[in-house]
């Protein structure tokens, strides 16, 4: 069917042509100058490519934002994000902690003396610690103390002091220790030694206590080694709650527990109460007879890292187990009995127990996904959306600046070219002056001034446009002047002179339309340059400020080494958009130049 139709169509179109005469008006197709330019433009492939790029860019920047569901500075956060956060801290205690009996003192100086005694002992015993059952004597502040190892595994020690018991003279017994003040048994013992013939020094045992005496025939001093009054241990006695704080600080009870730990006892009785003990490795859990937790004894020091958190015994048990077993992840029951996942995070000697906590996170640097086709940027904002809005600002700045430049340039160049003479000279020197101002240094200083006065938002963009415009109009002024100078010499201007029309009409009806093509070409080519300048300022962090965006300021994020290395989706698309639109403007400008005047210099 189609094969038959084709020749017929050809005949139909061919037929009228044959009839047409050579000078037929229809033969000579007269095209308007505008149409000619358009036809030449259309024929240029590069120009068409540029036009397509620009149309796409404009649609992207000005229509695109209507379709994006997000706004320019919308920050995306993840409210359901779980993040490991510190719950408690754990530390191995490797210092002796002192529990002193109520009413007695064991000062810092005494502790230092003890340490000194230990180190002296180690020096003389090949670095060996004090074995169990042996006693070490040391003095501090005029007092003599005896330290005795309770449990070398922890290690824990008890300290006794040498106490004055009594002074015995001839027929005179003076007992100074209060607890023996009215002890007839002791008095009887002392009486035996109150006679001059008795030995002047020696020791004896009374009620299981060693009593030593020394002196002369007339007076003997009796001293005894008292009950343990300090417990020095690396274990921590940690009460479950305030009610048991006093118990945890009670020296006798602590000693009892240490002994129980050493002897693997399952219960101790203290002040008529029975406590059940559960041994877990090197730790001890103390419960009362009802089975309620009382305290823990462990080498691990716990501290809370979060407000309002009470560290429960089950938590401590689980943590101790994990720490000793060097497990990274473990579980512990919380107040309601639910199992909570926890993680151990070791930094040097500190161990942090972390639990997952629900927190609001800004989703920064998220790679592209279906929701966000170009991912999220370093502020957690949608890159695609910001590119669209940024394109608006970049293109708008470009257009306004170029319009501004052309406006100044046409006026100055036009006046200069039309009037000539001293006006021309003066204006051209002005152009020279503005041309000589170094562009980037000047822009950077001006923008720094804006920074100093905290100009931001749209006011900043406005000033930026003015700065770029004021520094960039000289090229257009020169071109306009040159064109008007050459037009002035042409016949049609002589004709306007002859017809005697108004100067303004001469300029606006006859000169400006003839300069127009050149201006359009120059403006199009200049647009690319303006966009690049604006983007460069944005990149240096001097251009459009957050939360507004421009293509340059989006790439500014790539100055962050991390973003540059790992997050290509943040900065590469913006750079490509700048490049493509500048390329588009250049292609179109090139095409327009060719189209307006094919003979013109390219």
């Amino acid at each position: 069917m189609e094969e038959i139709k084709k020749p017929i169509l050809n005949e139909q179109t061919a037929a009228p042509e044959e009839e047409m005469k050579l000078d037929d008006a229809r033969r000579v197709k007269v095209l308007s100058p505008g149409m000619l330019v358009f036809k030449r433009f259309i024929r240029n492939k590069l120009a068409i490519a540029g036009t397509i790029i620009l149309v796409v860019m404009f649609l992207f920047a000005f229509v695109g934002p209507l379709f994006t569901p997000y706004s320019i500075a919308q920050q995306f956060t993840d409210t359901n994000a779980f993040q490991w956060s510190e719950y408690a801290t754990v530390m191995y205690n490797n210092e002796l902690r002192y529990t002193v009996q109520a009413g007695k003192t064991f000062s810092k100086a005494d502790q230092t003396a003890l340490m000194l005694a230990f180190s002296n002992y180690r020096k003389s015993h090949n670095n060996a610690d004090l074995p169990a059952g042996e006693t070490l004597e040391f003095t501090s502040g005029g007092n003599t103390y005896y330290v005795e190892t309770l449990n070398p595994e922890v290690p824990s020690y008890v300290i006794r002091a040498k106490e004055d018991l009594a002074t015995v003279g001839v027929g005179k017994i003076d007992i100074s220790a209060e607890e023996y003040a009215n002890d007839p048994g002791l008095e009887a013992e002392l009486k035996k030694l109150s006679v001059p013939m008795a030995p002047t020094s020696g020791e004896f045992e009374y009620n299981g206590k060693k009593i030593a005496f020394s002196g002369n025939k007339m007076e003997r001093k009796f001293v005894m080694i008292g009950d343990p009054f300090v417990l020095a241990t690396e274990n921590i006695f940690d009460s479950v709650n305030r009610d048991y704080d006093a118990l945890a600080k009670n020296m006798q009870f602590c000693v009892l527990l240490e002994e129980a730990l050493r002897d693997n006892l399952t219960s101790v009785t203290f002040e008529d109460k029975t406590y059940n003990l559960e041994e877990k490795g090197e730790d001890l859990i103390v419960r009362d007879d009802q089975g309620a937790d009382v305290m823990t004894v462990s080498e691990l020091v716990f501290g809370t890292a979060r407000n309002g958190v009470v560290l429960t015994v089950p938590f401590k048990e689980a943590t101790q187990e994990a720490v000793r077993g060097k497990v990274e992840y473990f579980e512990f029951p919380d107040e309601n009995g639910n199992m909570v996942e926890a993680r151990l995070h070791t930094v040097n000697a500190n161990i942090y127990v972390e639990t997952q906590m629900k927190s609001e996170l800004v989703r920064i640097d998220e790679p592209p996904s279906r929701e966000h086709p170009l991912g999220l940027d370093h502020n957690g904002m949608d890159v695609l959306t910001r590119l669209m809005y940024g394109g608006r600002i970049s293109l708008m700045v470009g257009f306004v600046v170029i319009f501004f430049e052309t406006f100044i340039g046409v006026i100055i160049g036009g006046i200069s070219g039309y009037f000539g003479g001293w006006v021309d000279t003066a204006l051209m020197r002005l152009v020279d002056l503005f041309n000589a101002i170094p562009f980037y240094p000047m822009v950077i200083i001006m923008v720094s001034v804006m920074d100093a006065y905290r100009v931001s938002g749209y006011a900043r963009i406005f000033f930026l446009m003015v700065v770029l415009g004021v520094l960039g109009w000289t090229g257009i002024a020169r071109v306009t002047r040159g064109q008007i100078l050459s037009l002035r010499e042409q016949d049609f201007m002589v004709a306007t002179e002859a017809t005697g029309i108004r100067t303004s009409r001469k300029i606006f009806r006859h000169l400006i339309p003839n300069v127009m093509p050149l201006l359009i070409v120059n403006a199009t080519m200049g647009l690319g340059g303006v966009i690049i300048s604006e983007a460069t300022l944005g990149f240096l962090g001097l251009g459009v400020k957050y939360p507004l965006a421009s293509w340059g300021s989006i790439i500014n994020q790539a100055t962050d080494m991390y973003v540059m290395r790992t997050c290509w989706w943040i900065w590469i698309p913006a750079g490509c958009l700048i490049m493509l639109s500048v390329l588009g403007f250049n292609f179109v400008g090139d095409g327009l130049r060719d189209a307006y005047d094919p003979k013109m210099k390219r």
Partner: protein, 329 residues
């Protein structure tokens, strides 16, 4: 000719002074904390019995910051006329000394760039002009336009990303490597050149487009001239026509174009140097400018404007040297 030259130089001088005035008045709007800082230091020190405000007043007087802008500018200008450019506020050394320290890195980089640029763009421009409207011509034109359209910072970042981060062939930034201090002279030269590859690549790519298009345009014009037709008509080989008759005549505009490159040669490449952390004049003065270091910025802009004027005058002279016809007019 001499009359013209003298007039041109006087005009250049006036333009340089007016330019400096404009820059000076803008930079005076920058609030700089330099005076306050020095005054505070001196008041806190034991150097005298003066208080902070007295020091501040005195310092402002020394640096002409207390008077009007015009007065300050006049004071600056008279100092400059005596060859005294002052001391940089940021770098704490005489401006000229600092300048001398850093400028040669920029010059080195720019000279290498220029050589690379000339060797790539002029042959390409000639090829494009010889085969006008061919596929080669289109390719060259598109390439040139693409080079012009690239923003410096984007090209530099892309190059860094590809060659330094992804491939790891070239260093990310800096001018010397880890072993620079311990190496031999040859090692040092090699190290610096190795570090200059990416910056030079960036600068060359950006400038190739312009020169290439310029060469092509001028070559096209020359190729359409009558004497080329004559040369072809008398049966000269195409090689001779292009290399002897056409190219030599293209050199006239090219040489004048070269003189316009003078400011960029000594003015440094601000963004490239900043991105590759090359301690050249561009980077150093960028940092001085944003902080409001008046002596340094003033010297830098003065330097640039003088260079621009010199290059313009030089271009005029070059024209006269290369093309005897200009001398007559």
């Amino acid at each position: 000719m001499w009359k013209f030259l003298v007039r041109r130089i006087v005009l250049g001088l006036v333009i340089v002074i007016l330019c400096s005035l404009i820059v000076y008045s803008v930079i005076r709007c920058l609030p700089t904390s330099y005076m306050e800082k020095i005054a505070r230091e001196r008041a806190a020190g034991t150097q005298g019995m003066k208080s902070y405000s007295q020091w501040l007043e005195e310092l402002n007087n020394i640096y002409h910051m207390d008077g009007s802008i015009l007065g300050g500018f006049y004071a600056w200008l008279s100092e400059v006329a005596q060859g005294n450019f002052g001391e940089s506020w940021v770098y704490q050394v005489p401006v000229v000394q600092k300048y001398n320290e850093v400028i040669w890195w920029s010059v080195l980089m720019n000279v290498i760039t220029l050589i690379v640029e000339i060797f790539i763009s002029i042959p390409l421009g000639i090829v494009a002009a010889r085969k006008q409207y061919s596929r080669t011509d289109y390719a060259v034109t598109v390439f040139a336009l693409a080079c012009i359209s690239l923003p410096t910072f984007f090209l530099a970042t892309i190059l860094k990303y590809v060659f330094a981060v992804r491939l790891g062939w070239l260093p990310l930034y800096g001018l010397s490597g880890r072993w620079y201090q311990t190496g031999t002279v040859w090692y040092k030269i090699g190290d610096i050149l190795y570090h200059l590859v990416l910056p030079v690549l960036t600068l060359a790519t950006l400038s190739i487009g312009g020169l290439m298009r310029y060469t092509r345009t001028n070559m096209l014009e020359v190729l359409n001239a009558d004497y080329i037709r004559t040369a072809r008509a008398k049966g000269l080989p195409e090689k001779v026509v292009i290399n002897k008759h056409a190219f030599r005549n293209t050199l006239i505009p090219l040489v004048s174009y070269m003189s316009y490159l003078l400011p960029s040669m000594f003015g440094g490449a601000m963004i490239t140097e900043e991105l590759f952390q090359i301690p050249g004049i561009g980077r150093i003065s960028y940092q001085a400018m944003t902080i409001g270091d008046i002596p340094f910025t003033m010297f830098y802009t003065l330097f640039l404007t003088v260079l621009t004027q010199v290059s313009l005058i030089l271009a005029d002279i070059m024209y006269a040297v290369v093309d005897p016809r200009v001398r007559v007019n």
